[in-house]
């Protein structure tokens, strides 16, 4: 264990200023949409206060991925035609790009790779939710998929300095890369990511996805299915090389996640084989 790195990371997670920021409107929208008595008009009013976000959302509304054929020119119409949960997903897409679309040193991800990975995991997660008749959580696994690796943006610099030790730990102790991160640095990218989401005031289901996407069996019971869906989507995207970095495939596909999602062998193979089609669509919303 590198105790000086652990100490520096403790300082970072205790000092919110050093963690990435998002505009306040994002958590406002997410929490408003989670309220069963949500007022659509208030959500639209909140979004249009920010011109840049509004312009981005209108562009996403008319992308082949989200569009339902009708040209959409206002946030009000977007909420009515596409749905409030889809508009919420677009708010997250439009605002997290600035955080995720970076060179991620240490993990050896070129600019754009972590962003592409997040979008791909989001889309695959949503597909899995729809495949397993869980439309009720399809938007949450989409949002969670986008940001599941946000902790890497903070941890990357420290991984760069300890990479050899992490890899040696993986090999000597036969543990996964993320377990070795914790072993060597005192924190893994899931824990750092959870702190980022606390700063952003994101709801518990999204915090659970970020905190447990490599170990879904440890998630709070009520969130095991959504966390497992993102876990499977993440594994399959990495196998297909989407956003794979220096941590490679030193991870585990958890049997508990297969059980929790109820995915069959045929379904898993189908999801993997359709990654090229997903990537084609991802290009439209990245």
């Amino acid at each position: 264990m590198h105790s000086h790195i652990k100490q520096r990371l403790e300082n970072i997670v205790d000092n919110l200023d050093q963690l990435p920021s998002l505009p306040d409107v994002v958590s406002k929208i997410i929490n408003m949409v989670n309220d069963p008595n949500v007022d659509f008009k208030k959500v639209a009013d909140e979004i249009v206060k920010d011109q840049a976000i509004t312009a981005n959302i209108l562009k996403l509304c008319n992308s082949a991925y989200f569009s339902k054929g009708k040209e959409i020119a206002s946030i009000d119409r977007a909420i009515v035609i596409l749905g409030i949960r889809e508009v919420k997903d677009m708010v997250v897409l439009a605002t997290t790009k600035a955080v995720l679309n970076k060179v991620i040193m240490g993990y050896d991800l070129a600019r754009g790779e972590l962003w592409k990975h997040g979008v791909a995991v989001a889309m695959v997660s949503k597909n899995i939710a729809l495949m397993k008749k869980r439309r009720d959580i399809s938007d949450e696994v989409f949002t969670g998929g986008i940001i599941h690796d946000v902790g890497k943006t903070v941890l990357a610099l420290f991984v760069q300095n300890t990479f050899k030790d992490i890899l040696t730990t993986v090999e000597e102790r036969n543990i996964t890369f993320q377990e070795a991160e914790k072993d060597v640095m005192g924190f893994d990218h899931q824990e750092i990511g959870e702190r980022v989401l606390e700063k952003w005031q994101f709801p518990p289901i999204l915090r659970a996805i970020v905190r447990h996407h490599h170990e879904p069996q440890l998630a709070p019971k009520e969130y095991i299915v959504p966390v497992s869906i993102v876990h499977v989507a993440n594994t399959i995207c990495l196998m297909a090389g989407i956003g794979i970095g220096s941590d490679g495939l030193f991870h585990e596909l958890k049997p508990e996640a297969i059980d929790a999602t109820g995915l069959s062998e045929d379904e898993l193979e189908k999801i993997y084989s359709e990654i090229p089609e997903v990537m084609q669509k991802a290009g439209e919303i990245m």
Binding site: M239, G248, H251, E265
Partner: protein
């Protein structure tokens, strides 16, 4: 400056020197075919071993490889000057579940070798297996393949 061409998952591409073809691999296999006489290179990034007629030919080793070779022959390449280098085919580190996903990397490599053999193209270098992610750069000036994996770089010059 070399022209960098990214080859995405389930894509094929070919170009003349000067250019660099790049792809990023997990369990997929990247196939770099080089014609040393024309200095033309082609790359395929295959996702699965065998085409059962369900998807695009570019996804599968047994259909993407003949397709890439045909493309290169049309560009003026000849098989007598062509050789292949392959990389990728990693597996998940721990896999207690899902038999079908766990063998994809190995099966991709086997099917790739078979398809190249059937097409009469020799494999002169392989960087395969394990649990690493790989970034492959294929330089068309001399056909060398650079593999970056787990923080290390390895070069393969043989053509």
């Amino acid at each position: 400056m070399n022209n960098l061409i990214n080859i995405g998952v389930a894509q094929i591409g070919s170009a003349e020197n000067p250019a660099v073809l790049r792809t990023i691999l997990g369990s997929c296999v990247g196939i770099c075919i080089y014609d040393r006489s024309k200095k033309i290179g082609g790359m395929a990034h295959i996702l699965l071993p065998k085409n059962n007629g369900k998807g695009n030919d570019e996804k599968y080793a047994d259909t993407a490889i003949p397709m890439l070779i045909q493309k290169m022959l049309k560009q003026g390449c000849s098989k007598e000057f062509m050789t292949a280098k392959i990389a990728g085919g990693s597996s998940m580190f721990k896999f207690k579940s899902s038999a079908s996903l766990s063998n994809i990397g190995d099966n991709n490599v086997i099917s790739t070798r078979e398809a190249l053999k059937a097409s009469g193209i020799n494999v002169v270098a392989e960087d395969i297996g394990g649990n690493v992610g790989r970034v492959i750069d294929f330089f068309l000036e001399d056909g060398r393949m650079k593999v970056k994996a787990a923080g290390n770089e390895q070069l393969y010059y043989k053509v």
